[in-house]
Amino acid sequence: MQPQSGTLGSNVSLPRRAWAIRRNALLMGAVQGQGYIGQALGAADLLAVSYFHAMNYRADDPEWEGRDRFYLSIGHYAIALYAALIEAGILPEDEIETYGMDESRMPMSGMAAYTPGMEITGGSLGHGLGIAVGAALGLKRKENPAFVYNLLSDGELGEGSTWEAVMSAVQWKLDNLIAVVDFNNQQADGPSRDALAVGADAPKWAAFGWYAQEVDGNDLDAVTTAFDNARNHPEAKPRVIICNTKMCKGIPFLEEREKTHFIRVEADEWEKALALLDEDKPL
């Protein structure tokens, strides 16, 4: 029997899910007054598709053997994943106020030992895809039909270890591995395209032997189609979806900022951002 999606039968729309993820992230950002809120707002749509369209899981049993694995290499996106895990019912909403506090289960960088639903310890970039290769091999060995998703960032593509994993996944024909690249063209020192020769991204992955798609990562319909294609593609190849996203998507006055990798937001601006979001609440 096919494993059931944790949200099958839900009538909550994907735009509403993405909206809720953005809202949870803003509420957490307000707790700390700063952080990787730009990434969370940018990745909210691809996370909504992952958790409320594509993935199978059980909210009350985050270690259920049949679940699709979601590996977050980019530990600083923890705020984004917590926001999705809260919306998915894996983390309780009332812990939002503990985000990043001493003894919280939601530290600023994602770590497996702290948080239900956080599969791996990220933060040191260039590890996630390699671990995903091993998990995908293990699932195949167990004849478990689950997928392994790995969310990477464009900056992380600079790490050589990522490309070792890219080649390994092809070698092992890992058709149960779906890499999702959040391409927002922002890393710590500035635009990713100014740091390493990042470009021709889908053709590059395809040349390595991956089934590669590139989409507007803030277009829910396009992302949904890409996830469906990735899951259903017939060839025995690993799959990558390059999602071009906009940092701070959905909050125009934050989108306009030049430096968005790690932002400070004044106390009144959090309220302003939440008010802007609430004005545009989808059905």
């Binding site: 506090m101 030992a113 702290y114 933060g123 600079g158």
Partner: protein
Amino acid sequence: MTIPAMSRRQSKYTPRSVPVSETGEKLTTSAMIASLDAEGRDTIAAPFGHALVDLAKTRADIVGLSADLSKYTDLHIFAQAHPDRFYQMGMAEAVLMSAAAGMAREGFTPFATTYAVFAARRAYDFIAMAIAEENLPVKIVCALPGLTTGYGPSHQATEDLAIMRGMPNLTVVDPCDAVEIDQATRAIAATDGPVYMRLLRGQVPNVLGEYGYKFELGKAKVIRDGTDVLFISSGFMTMRCLDAAMVLAKDGVSCAVLHSPTIKPLDAETIIAEAGKGGRLVVTAENHSITGGLGEAVAGALMRSGTFTDFRQIALPDEFLDAGALPTLHDQYGISVGSIIDRVKEWMDGK
């Protein structure tokens, strides 16, 4: 096929007490870019960046390279002053080190910066074979040494000194404050061979100025004398020891502070001479794991020379540390001024 599910570390995974944020007792996580808490002290901005800019005026061979962390290692100051001499290598620490080696081969003196975890853990083989084995003058300068971020083990370089001490040819420096970072930057630029230097960045406390201290590569110096306890310390733990010594003096415990910023080669001569005076409890203090850092280096030097003394170590535990606010973590792991005072009193009482 039945394969048992992975046994996950459960210590933090189980629900924890919900912090009472409204009381203000719980502190927010000190973020990666936060400076070391200066506790109201005078601070100096970006001492490494400014020293390097100054040096570069007369040293055409100096170049700067970073792996997407120039802003977070104060190298952006150099990049702004000398854009043509700054190389953004991207998020790629292996090629950062290999390329620095290549530039050194062509006669340049590269300063390569990243976080201490990424140099020590990820790039170790590249530093060893491309740089140290050839004894090339690459200066590796790394932010977030030891426990200087509340961000968790991915960014806490609690074992970098142990790792780097193991590398032949490499000089290892752990400076205390802004004054020393400025002086040490000039000193490592002037020395031949590869260097690993720990860096405090941003607004860095100015502590040693008032003691008339002058950094010399390979030298440990007595900053404060005392009769009951001899602290041997490096990095910002020297400022913590000086603060603790002032409080302990009021309680009748007289503490000397021997600052040993060069971890390798260790100034064994001075350390043996000071410890060998006898009558003092020797306490090493370091912002590093208890394994393989200053404390064990000092213990080894004393044992090898036949200098036997009461000996204690203040250091981080041999564990992956928690995430949280830095002041909380410094108390929790025993490297705050308060915990130094408590432990010294305990040891003196039990003596």
